[in-house]
């Protein structure tokens, strides 16, 4: 019995010691480092819900010690202005902590391009569309004076005068352009004025102007991210929120590989009877003639009256 007890003790001691030094031993033997590359989709229209999902994914990546790099897979025509700005800030915050690389599917335009701008490398395909660096807004129709709605200020219904709105939009444009220049720096081969034209560029044209870096697929982006993180061996994990992803951009919708996707109308963003301005960072082709129209009977009275019955 004594021999058995001694044997047990020795085994236990060996287990403890072995487990304790095992990580060091395996690492030392292989001579390699490892980690996980998180793939986070920025897909569909960028609204508050989509931004919250991506923000949570980025937070998860930042707080998980096993994640060494992030790859943003972009497939979006943009969305709300504030939601897009929030994404830009979250991606920039993540890029300050670990390598962030972007891979563009069909489109990363306007607010979506804003979001991926802080990436250290942007991979595009020849058919990918990027750019559309600009802001659009529906202008509030003149509603004052009226005797149907009581307000405490002349700008309560409209939000402000048209000229003030024009300058606010111009400030947003300046912020957008400035953010792109801060993020892309010397890689850009385009003037601020030319960038502000808000054109979209296909893959090679985007690379020529420095809006993207390399033609490549998603795997290329993952490998670049892993290499940049300094790991030889890596796993990938996709961090994607639940629920259906909504698309206004038909190109992005067709290209999307998300399990649940839904095509929605542009009027989801501008509403049917909104009186105040709605500021968006969306690619221009999403604004279809069926989305923003002049009501023929009120052409001079109501400059922009959206028609909500038609799909984009």
């Amino acid at each position: 019995m004594r021999a058995t007890s001694s044997f047990t003790l020795v085994v236990l001691a060996a287990l403890v010691v072995g487990l304790a030094i095992a990580p060091f031993a395996t690492g030392g033997l292989s001579g390699s480092s490892s980690g996980t590359v998180a793939v986070i989709p920025i897909e569909g229209t960028i609204d508050g819900e989509r931004t919250a999902t991506v923000t949570q994914s980025l937070e998860t990546a930042r707080n998980d010690d096993s994640i060494v790099a992030v790859v943003l897979v972009a497939n979006s025509g943009g969305g709300g202005a504030a939601a897009s700005e929030e994404l830009y800030m979250q991606v920039q915050r993540t890029a300050d902590e670990m390598p962030v690389v972007a891979s563009v599917d069909a489109v990363a335009a306007s607010g979506a391009y804003y979001a991926i701008a802080p990436s250290e490398e942007i991979y595009v395909k020849p058919a990918s569309q990027v750019g559309s660096v600009g802001v659009l807004a529906t202008l509030p129709p003149p509603l004052e004076p009226n005797e149907d709605i009581s307000t405490t200020g002349p700008a309560k219904l409209s939000g402000g005068e048209q000229r003030a709105l024009e300058h606010e939009l111009e400030t947003l444009r300046g912020s957008f352009v400035n953010a792109i220049f801060e993020s892309r720096g010397d890689r850009l081969d385009i003037s601020e004025a030319e960038l502000s034209y808000a054109r979209t560029y296909a893959g090679h044209d985007a690379i020529d102007r420095g809006l993207a870096d390399t033609i490549g697929d998603r795997q290329s982006a993952v490998e670049h991210a892993a290499t940049s993180a300094g790991v030889d061996q890596y796993d990938t994990t996709v961090i994607r929120g639940n629920g259906a992803v909504t698309f206004v951009s038909q190109a992005a919708y067709v290209s999307a590989d998300t399990p649940q996707k839904e095509s929605i109308s542009f009027t989801t963003f501008i509403g049917n009877e909104s009186s105040g301005p709605v500021v968006l960072l969306m690619q221009p082709e999403l604004v279809t003639t069926s989305s923003i129209v002049h009501n023929e009977t009120e052409t001079t009275e109501t400059p922009i009256v959206p028609d909500g019955d038609d799909d984009a």
Partner: protein, 369 residues
């Protein structure tokens, strides 16, 4: 007989238990402890003050330098589907009236008769062309010393929902005939400036040329202007060299206002409105327009003194001298759609209250003899 563990054995067991307890504790703490620690503040350098769009000052007055003893009449065309409302040109009207000039609106009838009483004729954004006879009349008016001011607008697109779907309508001012008579052309494409603007590329800051004697630091702000050219005239306003014409790739200086003798043309009228007339130094350019309008040397006829000016209305909201009701001196600015059965300017519309041929319309002008 049971053998007791040695001291070493007890020590190992002790160490093992302690290690197990510590390990479990650390695991528990790791699972239930907060996962985040305060992060560094966001570095918002991309959004500093330098990106803010600062509006130009808008506080100046229209202060023309004219002879206070002069007086006369300025006739403003409203007979050609002109695209403006009273408030769109109110600063100009008030500035003219402050110089003892009467502003009258010509909504129909013989133009020659109406012009006989006028010192200046103003045409703003017409959507119906002047007839050959009317063009000849205006030419004769200018030849006799009358001042002519033409305000054009580039083409604009309206998206219209009419119950059968959505279509686009191109609003177009028709000054080619009248302007062409004086060697002036209005470009239908708009001019924009990505760099020198006031609140966006469509709000172009123009610079007065030396011809104007306007010393302007802020510039004259035109809203979606079109280029206007003159064969033999002089440029009054020009864009900066960073401006472009829609559809053209090049940046260059564009002429936005010209003068040739008694005829002055501007590629915009939006700057005349109450919300834009004094942005930057725009009020100084309007003062120049007032000076131009009241400085003609045309002699009015006897008929002028009687106020027999056809179907014209005084612009001060009072009844015109010809008896026409002038409380609504400016026609509506709806685009003229010939297919629209409700078009108030449709001459064939029997329900049109403003149809000049409608015998039941109490405000209809008298039939021409």
């Amino acid at each position: 007989m049971r053998n007791e563990p040695s001291i070493l054995g007890y020590a190992l067991i002790f160490c093992f238990v302690v290690a197990a307890v510590l390990g479990a504790s650390m695991l528990f703490a790791g699972v239930f402890a907060p996962t985040q620690s305060p992060a560094e503040p966001y570095d918002a350098t991309a959004f500093d003050e330098s990106v803010r769009s600062v509006p130009l000052d808008a506080s100046g007055d229209i202060d023309p330098d004219v002879d206070a003893e002069n007086s006369g009449t300025v006739l403003i065309d409203t007979a050609h589907g002109n695209q403006f409302d009273r408030e769109d040109i109110l600063p100009l009207i008030e500035a003219l009236e402050q110089q003892n000039y009467t502003v009258r609106f010509h909504s129909g009838g013989e133009l020659e008769t109406a012009l006989a009483a006028a010192d200046a004729y103003v045409v703003i954004g017409p959507q119906q062309t002047h007839s050959v006879d009317e063009v000849a009349t205006v030419e004769s008016f200018a030849d006799s010393g009358g001042r002519v001011m033409l305000f054009g607008e580039p083409d604009r697109v309206l998206l219209v929902s009419d119950g059968f779907g959505v279509s686009s309508i191109r609003e177009r001012t028709t000054l080619s005939g009248l302007g062409g008579a004086f060697g002036m052309t209005f470009d239908p494409q708009f001019v924009y400036d990505m760099e020198r603007n006031d609140g966006g590329y469509k709000q172009v800051i123009a610079t007065p040329t030396d011809t104007t004697d306007i010393s302007s630091e802020d510039g004259i702000v035109l809203s979606i202007p079109g280029e206007v050219r003159s064969e033999s005239g002089t440029v009054l306003l020009e864009s900066s060299e960073t401006a472009s014409r829609a559809g053209a790739a090049e940046n260059r200086v564009h002429s936005l206002a010209v003068v040739d003798g008694n005829v002055l043309a501007v590629g915009d009228s939006s700057f005349l409105g109450v919300t834009r007339y004094n942005i930057g130094d725009t009020n100084e350019f309007i003062a120049l327009l007032v000076e131009f309008a009241v400085s003609g040397d045309r002699e009015t006829t006897e008929a002028d003194e009687t106020g027999d000016t056809g179907d014209s209305d005084a612009g001060d909201g009072t009844e015109g001298e010809d008896g026409a009701d002038s409380e609504e001196p400016v026609p509506p600015e709806e685009p003229d759609d010939p297919e629209d059965p409700d078009d108030p300017e449709d001459p064939d519309d029997p329900d049109d209250p403003e149809d000049p041929d409608d015998p039941d319309d109490p405000d209809a002008p008298p039939e021409e003899e």
